[in-house]
Symmetry: C2
Subunit: 330 residues, 2 copies
Amino acid sequence: MTDATYDVVALGNAIVDVLSQADDAFLETHALSKGTMTLIDPPTAEQLYGAMGPGVEVSGGSAANTVAGLASFGGKAAFIGKVRDDQLGDVFRHDIRAAGVAFDTPPANDGASTARCLILVTPDAQRTMQTFLGACIELGPEDVDEDLIKKSQVTYLEGYLWDPPRAKEAFVKASKIAGDAGRKVSLSLSDPFCVDRHRAEFVDLVNNHVDILFANEDEIMSLYEVSDFDDALQHVKNHCEIAALTRSEKGSVVIRGDEVHVLDAEPVSQIVDSTGAGDSYAAGFLYGYTHGHDLRTCGRLGGAAAAEIISHFGARPEHPLKDLLAKIVN
Amino acid sequence: MTDATYDVVALGNAIVDVLSQADDAFLETHALSKGTMTLIDPPTAEQLYGAMGPGVEVSGGSAANTVAGLASFGGKAAFIGKVRDDQLGDVFRHDIRAAGVAFDTPPANDGASTARCLILVTPDAQRTMQTFLGACIELGPEDVDEDLIKKSQVTYLEGYLWDPPRAKEAFVKASKIAGDAGRKVSLSLSDPFCVDRHRAEFVDLVNNHVDILFANEDEIMSLYEVSDFDDALQHVKNHCEIAALTRSEKGSVVIRGDEVHVLDAEPVSQIVDSTGAGDSYAAGFLYGYTHGHDLRTCGRLGGAAAAEIISHFGARPEHPLKDLLAKIVN
């Protein structure tokens, strides 16, 4: 795989996060379901933003966070996603490029503004996300650069991308190009409710196109409609090459056929904000995978990256993740 | 003064900060003078932003930070300043209102975009600021709501407001209304280079209009063109009713005629980012002043607020400043 220009190219929603602290009463008043991601329309976004406390704007997006994390490990990454030609679109483009990620998808010149995710962080460090998809709905197969996919070891797709209508065509096109070029396709299931919305399509995708699957306990159980993690594990091992299943404070389980690794969570000094934990786990795992490390090391790199992200406010690393390599590798 | 609706109304530049970590080499490469604020034009802003690392957007502006801090103490505050009707203008308006501050200055509908301050935070927690004033230059006397000034115990002005051309007319208009109504006028000198740019006007202002002056060591020495803090102190005590002079880790000195209080800095667990230290000192001081506390208590409240702000990234409080009251008052 050394002929690749990029370790990972990701397709995802290009989103600017608005992080704000909130208490449980606020979630109740606004009927928000803690720990999940809900899609909202512009009037609802307007209303919720008006009620929220002061915010901090920071570039986000699940797959975008993953490639920013991969670049922070020293990996080579690219991103495909849609912003508008507005101020927040400029912020997103600046931040992902400044993180060292190639990003050349042309912005939309009209239509909805750059996507925003209103994230309420409660004192228990949980995040509750309300997303206005905005310009993300403009992403389509014409934005998939065939050459870029062919030049990347792994094409990484976020499940959330199944929500905007035409993005799924981009998703399928990219998967086919990658598969035909002998590259790997990776999918993150993103969110149990996202799995609910698109279960049949996700099952088909996992069975037929996905080489490396990322999911947390709730997501994988939702995918197979089982109530026990171990049941889900028996299903997934027959359906894709590698599955990396995260379990919050219980660590992660990494499976390739009959090879199973049960990994403890990496130590974390303080948990401030769990936003981006899964995204950064995928970053560490894929950095390890594209650099020839064994599955156990890949899983530990994922866990260490997640531990860094949850120790501070925000979903992108505050300290270079490559500093973690010395602790995990060798 | 119990007939007042607001404790403080502030006039200032309405700015969104873009905070980014940088090392000393970056400052050298871009010929930036550490710890100061420089005004930059749009092409320079574009170029510097392109070279900066990933950023975090958060509402700022010196006087705006002060009134947000005052509201966090439980005080009643209002703000006058100019944004454009763009995304960052919406962010500024949302954040200051969500902080509990009344803000009704109409946005500019054309011209330059909402002001941005590119803030580079070095590992020594110093901040180096490059400001593109944008829509702030549209602030003029027509934006000064006479009734609002009359209804406020203190009208607070930031020295930085002397830079945009028409804002100074707003400044003078507000001072006169406040003075005629028997209200107090307060000024923060903002920055030694800002004092350099406008020294004669500032001296005149301090002598004739200002009741409560805020300055740090460098600023007050620059105002009187002396090289010794004690010399500056002798000058200022004859020229305005109260002067609160901040000295970083050496605490502050508060003077009213022959009444002099030398206050130690409040303890701080860690210094992460000094952005907003002076702004929040003024917040604590003015909260104390408008709530009938003695000068010593006012200075201690200022020091405690500054200690909270420098312990984290960003210039507005992360925890309610009113929690500090119990430690300082009584």
